[in-house]
């Protein structure tokens, strides 16, 4: 079992992520980037690798690469070079892929991941990012007999030429769950800064893992294998664990690991060798003579830095520091750009002092209501302004928290103006002593035992009586006033 393996062996894991950049056209051709078309319906002559075609770089990818570089605290190299990676495959129309080799656009960065440590507390680990570079995606080879009717392989070049950023981590990860955490953090960054939608189902965020083991306490790396095309977080972690176990068993028996490309079988939860890599492939990289090196002006990097959307860890720090939110709550906001924006807009109206309350309303009440109604945040009629208005009513004592929650549900589904709705439904809080007196007296009279308890010193009975008053007044009784009246009448 893996626990046994981990007693003797330390996993060393590096991840390579290929992410589709959020552009409208391809990396070197003006064909549109979309998903799910019939074969070869979204190609330009450049994507077909026809004789005589030439590549021209999409300016948008430069901006996106710079953003990613800044977001992972890396160096944005002001001069990077496109290189040809030469090999034959049907989905590679030119017989080479335009990528970057010796001089990538981004290098030497890092990001922090958080995982529960042995004591259950969250620990931060810094994972190095060796480099990130631009390259074009290949097309698709379809081997599925259902499509090809057993005759040959179909080749669809719609995806050929789509812009990718390949992000390579240092082999700093030490477990499958660290790998998962790294991927989640990276994905969150990519989405937050608008570099990629990173939708794994659309194949916009693909991961390869390099896994090796070394004896605990030793330095040199063991032989590694490569797990390719892991396209869900679950699979990544399961595949890495399966591979760790597999390697551990071999090493325990005194065997040695053969360098290979592995495939993960989710049904059996095991990895198997796809092909061995005794000799590294020779891609005969050389600078692409059809392209000029990518020269980025230094002030361009500065401009992008200034205009960067707030990064997840900065947001976390702000929500915890400025607003006093707990780590767990703050984290929920950093994972959703839209939720965070929603929060910011409500707090802009209510003020930072009420931030914690706002957070509770959003994370508890709003999310629950959305779930129940099966609505997205966008589709909900409860805009940040309306929520702020609702909270203002509570703050001013015009609405009790309990009635606010009822109103809330209505607002989420149907919208409307909180104040008008409150009046319409007759939910306005009552704080007038005269009006409440009757209800208070009735509550005391109907519950003599509770009244006695309170006089004897039991505070809880007061709450019980307050609840009774609430019932009688359909929740409209103002808490403060009610408490005051009860206390006075009970002589406490």
């Amino acid at each position: 079992m893996i626990e046994e393996t981990l007693e003797r062996w330390e996993p060393v894991i590096g991840l390579e992520v290929h992410t589709h950049l959020a552009t409208k056209s391809k990396l070197f051709s003006p064909a549109p980037v979309e998903y799910g078309d019939a074969p070869n319906h979204r190609v330009h002559v450049i994507d077909l690798g026809l004789p005589g075609v030439l590549p021209v770089l999409n300016e948008r990818v430069v901006e996106l690469a710079i953003r990613l570089g800044i977001a992972v605290h890396a160096e944005v190299n002001l001069r990077s070079v496109f290189a040809r990676k030469n090999y034959f495959y049907p989905d590679l129309p030119k017989g080479y892929q335009i990528s970057q080799y010796e001089d990538p656009v981004v290098s030497n960065g890092w990001l922090d991941i958080e995982l529960p440590g042995d004591d259950g507390q969250l620990e931060t680990r810094r994972i190095g990012i060796t480099r990130a570079h631009l390259e074009e995606d290949a097309g698709k080879s379809i081997h599925d007999d259902a499509v090809t009717k057993g005759r040959g392989t179909h080749v669809d070049l719609n995806r050929s030429g789509v812009p990718l950023l390949e992000i390579v981590s240092e082999p700093d990860l030490r477990s499958a769950s660290e790998a998962g955490a790294y991927l989640r953090a990276l994905r969150s960054i990519l989405r937050t800064i608008g570099v990629s939608e990173a939708d794994m189902e659309k194949g916009q965020f693909r991961c390869d893992a390099n896994v090796s083991l070394r004896a605990i306490g030793t330095e040199p790396f063991g032989t590694r294998t490569e797990l390719k095309n892991l396209n869900s977080f679950r699979y990544v972690e399961a595949a890495i664990e399966a591979e760790i176990e597999r390697q551990g068993e071999i090493l325990d028996e005194g065997g040695s690991i053969v360098q290979a490309t592995m495939a993960f079988d989710p049904d059996t939860q095991t990895t198997r060798v796809l092909r061995t890599k005794e000799n590294a492939d020779d891609y005969r990289y050389f600078p692409d003579p059809d392209l000029i090196p990518l020269l980025i002006p230094a002030d361009e990097v500065e401009r992008v830095r200034r205009e960067m959307p707030e990064l997840p860890d900065a947001k976390l720090a702000r929500f915890v520091g400025d607003f006093g939110l707990g780590q767990a709550d703050a984290r929920q906001f950093t994972e959703s750009q839209e939720l965070a924006e929603y929060f910011d807009r409500v707090v802009a109206r209510t003020g930072a002092e009420r931030a914690k309350e706002v957070a509770k309303w959003i994370l508890r009440d709003l999310l629950q209501a959305l779930k129940q109604l099966d609505l997205s945040l966008e589709a909900s009629a409860l805009t940040p302004d309306k929520l702020a208005a609702l909270l203002e009513l509570v703050e001013k004592g015009r609405l009790t928290p309990r009635n606010a929650r009822d109103l809330f549900a209505l607002l989420v589904e149907h919208g409307g103006d909180p104040e008008s709705l409150m009046v319409e439904r007759g939910l306005e809080a009552v704080s007038d002593e005269g009006a409440l007196e009757v209800a208070v007296q009735e509550a005391i009279d109907a519950n003599p035992k509770a009244a006695e308890s309170y006089r004897a010193g039991d505070q809880k009975s007061l709450n019980f009586l307050m609840g009774q008053v609430m019932k009688k007044t359909q929740g409209k009784a103002d808490a403060g006033t009610t408490r005051k009246l009860l206390a006075a009448k009970l002589g406490g």
């Binding site: 077909l48 021209v56 040809r84 080749v155 005969r284 003579p289």
Partner: protein, 489 residues
Amino acid sequence: MSLPALTLALQAAQLSSRELSSCDLLDAVLGAHAGRGDEANAVVGLRAEAARAEAVEADERLTRGEPLSRIDGIPVLIKDNMVQRGEETTCASRILEGFVSPYDSAAVTCLREAGAVIVGRSNMDEFAMGSSTENSIHGPSRNPWDLERSPGGSSGGAAASVASGLVAGALGSDTGGSIRQPAAFCGVVGMKPTYGRVSRWGLVAFASSLDQIGPLARTAEDAAILLGILAGHDPRDSTSLAEPVPDYCSALDGDVRGLRIGIPKEFFEAEGADPVVLEVVREAIAELERAGAKTLAVTLPHTPYAIAAYYLIATAEASSNLARYDGARYGHRSKKARTLSEMYTLSRSEGFGTEVKRRILLGTYVLSAGYYDAYYRKAQQVRTLLRSDFEKAFEVCDVIATPTSPEVAFRIGEKSDDPLKMYLSDIYTVSANLAGIPGISIPAGFAHELPVGLQVLGRSLDEATLLRAADTFQRRTDHHAQTPRGWLR
């Protein structure tokens, strides 16, 4: 109908005065081609009907007095490596037989927008790899001056078609001399512009950092007209230069007084150069001196290394550029292929000729791990040294004059068994491609009754000076007006 005037400029004048129509010119081309059966085998794909329709449209414009350009209605040839929508482009290779392009090259678009009538494609060495136009599935082209001899290569068909009088202008491509050397062998003008001056969009790539399209014609003026049509920035070509295009024709003032001509000793000392050829070239340079130019000795010390650097860089780039010919999406696919692997190996083995295979193997080797530094990277460093040779020389002179070729046209078959020998004949032309500078070859005289070319090289983007020198020379000599035995008119 007799058409003695055979320059673009004169044809344009005749069209303008309506002495002749575009259809008349086209008839003359088609008639000449049919009559002698294209002895030189210069043309590989005549598009008579389509050309006729274009000639008719041109005549309508000319009648209205609204020509699109100076060459509106004039028949020209493109080389079989420049794609044209709806037409076959083979690059003289089996692997592209039957390939019909869905898009136009920039060169074709330029010609079309100028109203020129593209009559067909000219023969070439397969994928532009060769110096003799013998490596072609369409059979070798022949030199109109002596049909047993090569017209040079790889733009041999283009040079032969102009030399034989079939057309007044043709486009060629030059990677290591493939416009200039055939121009020299055939006694016509051929120019390779500065790298990046003419768009490579739609030019089937051989060596991306060296290839350029250029004109072949009888006179410097015609070359200037064609260059003016072709030159300019193209956003579809990332290596295309954005500098504005001057009016090349207005530079032809016939005045070379004070022009400083550098004579590089390395080019006149080369082993194996025919001394008669060298003498003709020296005399041609003397003519320019008599016109007021000054000569001075310069040195290009890295010249002996140019061929080696060229063949390393060109074959490396070619091996990658030709990887797309795999039988998957277009071109030849072997009928014997049952597996994917066989599709690649058999299609390419059947589809490529020997010289192309040789260069792909060499290029693959040059780029492979362990050899990249010693070969490819080294060659690129030598390239830097060659460029700085030229930069230093151009500090003291304006142009450099050399022979275009160390010899006159050789017999067909004479060199085809010795590839290295064939490569060495590029000795005078490759440096310009490596340095990216422009060069022109002009008919300078005759040796052994065969044409000799004078090559003039210039600074980057200084095509105007080269054309001016060439035009001046042609005002004072008549070598370019001589016609060969294979004259078609």
